[in-house]
Amino acid sequence: MRQKVMFVMLALAMILLVRNLYTISMLPDEVNQGQIFRIIFFHLPAAIAAMLGSAVALVASVMFLWKRNFKYDALAVAVTEVGLAFLAVNLVTGSIWAHVIWGVWWAWDPRLTSALICWILYAGYLILRQSLEEPTQRATFAAVYSIFAFTDVPIVYFSIRWWRTIHPQPVFFSKNGSFPPDWSRALLINMVAIFLLYALLTMVRLRQEQTQREIDYLRRTVHAI
């Protein structure tokens, strides 16, 4: 059943993405930026997906500390790992865009810096997990770290509104957004596709984690005999 759901999700995400590639390529160039503006159709959904992922990781971590069920720990790892990959997509696409528009690969702007901080924070989460052997201790400490790390995420979200920044202002969900309706539609569809992909990869990783635990359990049983 679960496998079927995953295949359906994969197919749906692929159809949406391919269809959207066509739509996006048919859009006219943006007046000031030319071709490169199309990167936003991947840059923004990746960022939002990663940010939602960090929220899910927070909830899963709190739930683990509360219920002590390893299901939540597996969810936290899965969502963090995939989120890290999506944040990397966000940083890399942003960097490519900056190279074309600003003429530099990187600017130490609040928005960019805080996104990079988030990436390093959640990379630290994975390093912490790697250095702990005992499953209960690993899950507990990782959950504590994840809760602390999450305090940084709101800064990323608000930095663009609080501090003066050279990063473009939000075009979505804000009053002075200037996105034409058909662009917004393309962006929304892309967002759905990328969220599907995120959920799918998380499910794959989740299953891996569960299999790993089963193997550990069997190995321990064998040793006991």
């Binding site: 390093i127 912490l128 250095s131 507990t140 400490f141 305090t151």
Partner: protein
């Protein structure tokens, strides 16, 4: 009342242990001087441009020196299984956190207070023009570093490569604190009062001190028993 007494007992115990050996505080202060010396090669120490980044330099020194003290805080409890005794003692984790945290704060602040004039002499900076405001920023900044450092000191104490893991894990989490402290210190060392735009940074510092302290108080039990 009982809680406050428990906190004070742990703080006094830690400070007494440190005062008898002086191992962490001496090493930390010596390290601060070494870092100040090395940073002087990276920048022309007496130029005006260096003064513009003085707050940053100062907090890098404080951070590195503080890490040594934070690393020792729980590692000191490992010989003779003192840590197990502390956890088994009828003291809540929150009291243990506050006790250890206060002791760490006193030690790190002592190193900072001594390192500050040395910094002023080496880098030819008249740092005392906004003395009390600078002290306020140092207290807020140092408490933020200490709160996070104390919890993660407890978390990393049994991990392989403890000395590396602590800074690796806590420096990114400390960034909001360091950012605020660096921005404010640079202006204060240059003689500017805290006003206008700078208030945002002070609020940031306050806000994160409260968030991190609250999180630490809640999660300390989990870390100790995990």
């Amino acid at each position: 009342m009982r809680f406050i007494r428990q906190v004070m007992v742990i703080t006094a115990k830690d400070l007494r242990a440190e005062m008898r050996t002086k191992e962490a505080i001496n090493a930390s202060f010596a390290f601060a001087i070494v870092v100040l010396l090395i940073l002087s090669f990276a920048f022309e120490p007496t130029e005006d441009t260096t003064r513009e980044i003085s707050g940053g330099l100062l907090w890098i020194v404080f951070l590195f020196a503080g890490t040594l003290i934070l690393n020792r805080s729980f590692a000191r409890e490992l010989p003779n299984d003192c840590l197990d005794a502390l956890i088994a003692a009828p003291v809540p984790g929150a009291a243990l956190f506050l006790g250890k945290g206060l002791a760490n704060f006193v030690l790190i602040f002592a190193v900072e207070i001594v390192a500050l004039p040395v910094f002023g002499i080496f880098y030819n900076v008249r740092w005392a023009r906004q003395f009390w405001a600078l002290i306020l920023v140092m207290v807020l900044g140092t408490w933020g570093l200490t709160a996070i450092g104390t919890v993660f000191g407890a978390l990393t104490v049994n991990i392989r490569l403890r000395e590396v893991m602590l800074p690796l894990l806590v420096y990114p989490i400390m960034i909001p604190i360091l950012l605020g402290a660096m921005k404010l210190s640079t202006e204060l060392v240059a003689g500017q009062p805290i006003s206008g735009d700078l208030m945002v940074w002070l609020k940031l510092l306050f806000g994160f001190d409260i968030i991190f302290t609250a999180l630490s108080l809640v999660l300390m039990d989990t870390v100790l028993l995990g």
